[in-house]
Point group: C2
Chain length 71, copies 2
Amino acid sequence: MKTTTFKIEGMNCDACANTIKKLVEKEPGVRVAEVSFDEGSARVLYDPQSIEEERLVDTIQKPGFRVVARD
Amino acid sequence: MKTTTFKIEGMNCDACANTIKKLVEKEPGVRVAEVSFDEGSARVLYDPQSIEEERLVDTIQKPGFRVVARD
């Protein structure tokens, strides 16, 4: 399992954060996503054998949010 | 082309509405989606030959919003 933290722009409220959490947690291979509106970040625990980091970025960005950094 | 209006619960702000708009407009067969946070609704213009109404409901609900009525 691997954890990646994504810095995200475009969240406007806690509901936005929850939207991202639910979208990411529906992806296969993702165990948990902690998304914080206050910090503008998502910390995702996932199996890198099942899903690539790039796919996580796509999932976050699909509704219009922007991933501006990751580590 | 067909227009369906969905009543949606769970939107918290304009960014939530924009999130739904972008997700729905990425679906094949959808021409335009007008989503209003104030009204709690989405009006979607789409080609019913390309996408079923049920699929639109799934798309709206995937991040956790709830479709409570449609016409």
